[in-house]
């Protein structure tokens, strides 16, 4: 069973701001879903390796040559906040933090 504190912790990890109501509802729903998917524990996988994707592709490489990409203006056009040629981001590193 996951607790209310667990839900709050996971929400912070996921950078999701949830209201008190949402946390309550989420706790009940997640517990029901986790109970249902808990059935996997009964499947014997002792002799099986994990599969991350099903097609037999190894690393896909390309030649290391420059190619045209998005123009700066097109890349920045959707930014909620920008300053000149840059995205504007709230302060990440400041003294004393």
């Amino acid at each position: 069973m996951i607790s209310r504190e667990d839900v709050e912790h996971v929400a912070t990890l996921a950078r999701l701001g949830l209201t008190d109501d949402e946390i309550d509802r989420m706790q009940g729903q997640l517990n029901r879903i986790l109970e249902a998917i808990g059935q996997l524990q009964s499947v014997d996988t002792s002799a099986v390796g994990p599969t991350a994707q099903v097609i037999a592709l190894e690393n896909v490489m390309r030649d290391d040559v420059s190619r045209p990409g998005l123009s700066r203006e097109a890349a920045l056009a959707n930014a909620p906040l920008r300053e000149g040629a840059h995205l504007r981001v709230p302060v990440v590193l400041e003294e004393g933090r």
């Binding site: 996921a14 950078r15 989420m26 997640l30 249902a36 996988t45 097109a74 959707n78 709230p90 990440v92």
Partner: protein
């Protein structure tokens, strides 16, 4: 009902394509016809999130000029109007970053409000090159997460067969648009059934190609090891034309596979004599509606009468598919959706503190189902639970894939129901996420194994469409299409249209 009695917009690409090439109708007429149907049913179906009227008409006029010059030969999609699920980005900015009149992209989410893509998806590029005419972007469950289209931030889509019911999801706008005569074909995306299940509930064809067959470039990511895109059409033959245009290697999608693409239309021989078709007994899941089971078993009998050998097979890990899927898909989604951070594009809460900005932006921008899956995925990937959930699910994926490989070594394709139910009432399953997830019990194992699958109409139960699912070997779409086509020709359900086609 005779096809001749159907309005132009309700016919197949094959039929109107002939009329286009013989200059009996123009692409402009077809496009205007679709736009009129889109307008007429905008409120009652809510299928489109954006319509590009002027651009569509200009593209249609361009196609008409090419058709007049005899350019229609070997270009079956030239001048054919279509729609894209609003999961595909469509270029809407020029190189200077200014709006260029292109369509917005929302993924059915508030978090992409105001977003204008600076680039086009591979799907749009390839269909444009094939001469098809883009009408607009269709409604869908937010970030393709859902089985009923009720998780769209822009309201539910209504099923043209009965407006009080859902069209299925997550590609419900696309399936309903094709069923409702608003587009001759549409693209959807399928992570756990999101093309096949709405195709089944809306009474149209829906194909999920093999993982790696079609480029995912410009398709907004939900679960990157499961996502694939494919067409909705009104005939299997139409489906081959769209797949032909989409299939093939694209260096911009590193999971796109560089192997030859066969001639899909040539695979439709109508002949299934001597083929071995397996029916996995585990696919008749608990809670399957009797009318669905009856229609699907009747479809097996049709194929048997055509000379196929129907054999019962077993895929014992089917039952574990749902749990496996609901670990892998949310885990990948939680990583993919980390990009919506209120900094680069889309919604932003405008907070001065970075963490607060993340929390408030994402808290306000995502809907309940998306939040649920991000939470589930983050939990499954978090310290202490990673091995028990994520690694375990990846191991069960190995088992599921191995079972399909073993069975498909012995049969040419598999037959199964697409969905355990016909279209259900809007609101009937929204309170219980687990009940909603069961809609995909018969489709999601196919994504886990990366195989191709199609849903083809198999008649009606209680007046609503039922779908037959045909599942094939990896990259063997040709056999899947051949079986579906032979069934379609014999069963003669291809002319069934919803009531909206006639009023």
């Amino acid at each position: 009902m005779a096809t001749q009695a159907l309005p132009l917009v309700d016919r197949t690409i094959g039929e109107v394509g002939e009329l286009l090439r013989s200059r009996q109708v123009s692409s402009r007429e077809l496009t205007e016809g679709c736009l009129a149907r889109i307008d007429r049913d905008a409120e009652r179906l809510n299928t489109f999130l954006a319509v590009g009227r002027e651009r569509a008409l200009a593209a249609a006029d361009g196609a008409d000029r090419e058709l007049a010059d005899g350019g229609g030969a070997a270009r079956p999609l030239l001048g054919i109007p279509y729609a894209l699920k609003d999961i595909f980005v469509t270029r809407a900015l020029d190189d200077d970053g200014n709006p260029d009149g292109g369509l917005p992209t929302t993924a059915g989410s508030r978090i992409l409000e105001g977003y204008r893509s600076p680039y086009a998806s591979a799907a749009e590029e390839r269909l444009t090159a094939a001469g098809a005419v883009l009408l607009g972007k269709t409604n869908c469950d937010e970030f393709a997460m859902g089985s009923s289209n009720e998780n769209s931030a822009f309201g539910p889509v209504h099923n043209p067969w009965d407006e009080s019911t859902v069209p299925g999801g997550s590609s419900g706008g696309s399936s309903a648009a094709v069923a409702g005569g608003q587009a001759f074909f549409a693209l959807g995306t399928d992570t756990g059934g999101s093309i096949r299940q709405p195709a089944s509930l809306s009474g149209v064809i829906g194909l999920k190609p093999t993982y790696g067959r079609v480029s995912r470039y410009g398709m907004i990511a939900f679960a990157s090891s499961l996502d694939q895109c494919g067409p909705f059409t009104r005939s299997v033959h139409d489906c081959t034309h769209v797949l032909q245009a989409l299939a093939g290697h694209d260096a911009r999608d590193s999971t796109s596979v560089d192997i030859p693409v066969p001639d899909y239309a040539a695979a439709l021989t109508g002949d299934v004599r001597g083929m071995r078709l397996g029916v996995p007994r585990e696919y008749f899941v608990a809670g399957m509606e009797p009318g669905v089971e009856r229609a699907v078993r009747e479809a097996f009998a049709v194929l048997e009468r055509l000379g196929a050998e129907i054999v019962e097979v077993s895929l014992p890990s089917t039952d574990a598919g749902l749990a496996t899927y609901y670990i892998i898909a949310p885990a990948e989604a939680s990583a993919n959706l980390a990009r919506y951070d209120g900094v680069k594009y889309g919604l932003s809460a405008g907070e001065d503190d970075l963490l607060e900005n993340y929390l408030r932006t994402r808290g306000a921008g995502f809907g309940p189902e998306v939040k649920r899956r991000i939470m589930l995925g983050t939990y499954a990937l978090s310290a202490g639970y990673y091995d028990a959930y994520y690694v375990k699910a990846q191991q069960v994926r190995t088992l599921i894939k191995a079972e399909f490989d073993r069975v498909l070594a012995d049969v040419d394709a598999l037959l199964a129901p697409t969905s355990p139910s016909v279209a259900f009432a809007i609101g009937a399953k929204t309170e219980d996420p687990l009940l909603m997830y069961l809609n995909d019990a018969c489709t999601l194992p196919v994504n886990i194994a990366g195989l191709p699958g199609i849903s083809v109409p198999a008649g009606l139960a209680d007046g609503l469409p039922v779908g037959l699912q045909v599942i094939g070997r990896a990259f063997d779409e040709a056999t899947v299409l051949r079986v579906a086509d032979a069934y379609e020709r014999a069963a003669r359900f291809a002319d069934l249209r919803p009531p909206t086609a006639h009023d």
